[in-house]
């Protein structure tokens, strides 16, 4: 435990003794701030004259402003996350400091959890920015505070899942650039997959003329692919959660997602023992 904490502190501090931490948090604050302002202005206009925007009556605040804004914050983390995770292990390898980590009395878990916690620390700093926005919301709008708190937790969980994937990719790469690019590519593929899945029909894509057994098999494979494409993307689970709808399976999804990639990171670090 002590060593996890030591690795985590060193890593977290290194974000803020280099410009990296400030750039990442600053960019996040700028983008989410602009997004927040724009959507707030839009919502104010809609409330003034709903009919101009084809709404009947004042639209639901949580559905129209809060939830899309929180999902948007999550999406921004999708863009910025690779900048946080790319250095975690790839840079140690690039600079050779991995040799220090490997020859000091550290277990793999100290390294993996230490690094992951440090990236979660960065995420927590970014959540402070989101919290500021939500405090503004809480001040001007009559919303349940629980909904706002849960909103922050949603974005945090989503970000934590992104970061676990980034950490894994970083453990595979030996330079930051490859790690960052690869991570971003994976995030984007997941995102596009989610967007495409909305258009996937429920019907079996095999032609009706084919034998029943083949059709059944294709239908089964297609069904699995379709539900994966719908459920796997990280933003798919955030939309409802961000409105304060607590569904345990969404939370479990994020935790399992992160646990899976942390597991892969362990295996990737361990592979040095059998790969020459």
């Amino acid at each position: 435990m002590k060593n996890i904490w030591a690795v985590c502190r060193r890593e977290f501090a290194s974000f803020f003794v280099t410009p990296m931490g400030y750039v990442v948090v600053g960019t996040f604050a700028l983008i989410t701030g602009l997004g927040f302002t724009a959507s707030f202005i839009f919502y104010a206009r809609v409330t003034e004259s709903p009919s101009t925007y084809a709404y009947q009556g004042v639209p639901d605040f949580e559905e129209t402003l809060l939830s899309p804004f929180l999902v948007f914050c999550g999406m921004v983390i999708m863009f910025i996350g690779p900048l946080i995770t790319m250095r975690l292990l790839a840079e140690e390898r690039h600079r050779g400091t991995i040799e220090l980590l490997l020859t000091h009395p550290l277990r793999d878990r100290d390294i993996v959890f230490g690094k992951y916690l440090a990236s979660l620390g960065m995420l927590a700093v970014m959540m402070l920015v989101v919290a500021v926005h939500l405090c503004v919301v809480g001040y001007f709008v009559d919303v349940e505070p629980a909904v706002l708190v849960f909103g922050v937790i949603t974005v945090f969980l989503m970000g934590a899942a992104f970061l676990s994937m980034g950490l894994f990719v970083s453990s595979l790469c030996s330079t930051q650039i490859t790690a960052g690019t690869f991570t971003f590519g994976l995030f984007f593929v997941l995102y596009i997959l989610g967007a495409l899945s909305e258009d996937m029909s429920e019907e079996n894509p095999a032609p009706p003329g084919w034998p029943e057994g083949v059709r059944g098999a294709i239908g089964f494979a297609y069904g699995i692919f379709r539900s994966l494409a719908r459920q796997l993307p990280l933003d798919a689970h955030a939309k409802e959660m961000a409105q304060g709808v607590v569904a345990p399976h969404d939370i479990v999804y994020y935790i399992l997602f992160a646990a899976f990639f942390l597991f892969l990171t362990f295996r990737s670090l361990e592979s040095r023992k059998w790969r020459s």
Binding site: A6, R10, S14, T18, L100, T103, P105, L106, R272, W274
Partner: protein
């Protein structure tokens, strides 16, 4: 203190280290000598648990490197060849991070960092950012890092490479002093350095041990033609040449 038997490291079809065996007794300072690419660093990496051995066994301070790596790592101070440091960190902060990882109790950390800083002559530099240090001082920070926790075994991979003559003299002096209380395995390809520092020499070439003996015996031994080898240099050349003849 260090006991190696049949240690082999293969990178694919290439055998970087082939079946080497040697012992280092407590309190000894042993030079690990060889041309570039002979397998010195690979052997040292295997001893410190940084890379696994393909075959063979290495015991350090009574523990098996393969099965009890943490126990070994607690007892070894390692200075890798290209001193890896976090450039953005302040020297004293870096050393106290290492102290924390090496299980130095919280209350004793400050004193321990102070001790190694003094030992390595870093007093003036302890509040400087590592990235702004000269090569010589970085080397010392690397050495200080290895000394934290006062490990009984020190493994130093080319500690004087890339330093200016004055720094070389200083670091040799430090190593000589360290040898009084630590077992030291030191690699280098600078022959006079070995002559100055070491009790015993292991000459390694193309992944094999070509010769191992005390300094006196090596330089006193006779060559194949019956000529007396006056210096370590002659002994080294003879060992390396003999190995090449076997290969052919």
């Amino acid at each position: 203190m260090i006991e190696v038997s049949g240690l082999t490291k293969c990178y694919g079809p290439v055998e970087a280290v082939r079946d080497i065996s040697f012992r280092v007794e407590p309190g000894e300072i042993v030079g690990f000598l060889g041309p570039n690419g002979a397998g010195k660093s690979t052997t040292m990496r295997m001893l410190t648990g940084s890379i696994p051995a393909t075959r063979g066994k290495a015991m350090v301070a009574g523990y098996d490197v393969a099965t009890q790596p943490l126990e070994v790592k607690r007892r070894v101070g390692y200075l890798p060849e290209n001193v890896p440091l976090y450039p953005e960190m302040v020297v004293s902060r870096f050393l106290s991070y290492v102290a924390e990882i090496k299980d130095v109790p919280r209350g004793a950390r400050k004193a321990e960092v102070g001790r190694v800083v003094e030992r390595c002559g870093l007093e003036q530099m302890s509040n400087r950012v590592i990235q702004n240090l000269s090569k010589g001082f970085r080397q010392r920070v690397g050495l200080a890092q290895a000394l934290i926790g006062n490990p009984p075994v020190l493994i130093l991979d080319e500690p004087t490479v890339g330093l200016d003559p004055k720094q070389i003299v200083e670091i040799r002096k430090t190593i000589k002093e360290l040898a009084e209380e630590h077992t030291v395995l030191l690699s280098t390809h600078i022959l006079p350095e070995v002559a100055m520092l070491c009790d015993r020499v292991i000459i390694i070439n193309r992944g094999r041990i070509a010769a191992q003996d005390t300094m006196e015996n090596l330089s006193a031994a006779e060559g194949p033609g019956g000529e007396r080898r006056g210096t370590l240099e002659d002994a080294f050349m003879a060992a390396v040449a003999a190995e090449e003849n076997i290969e052919e």
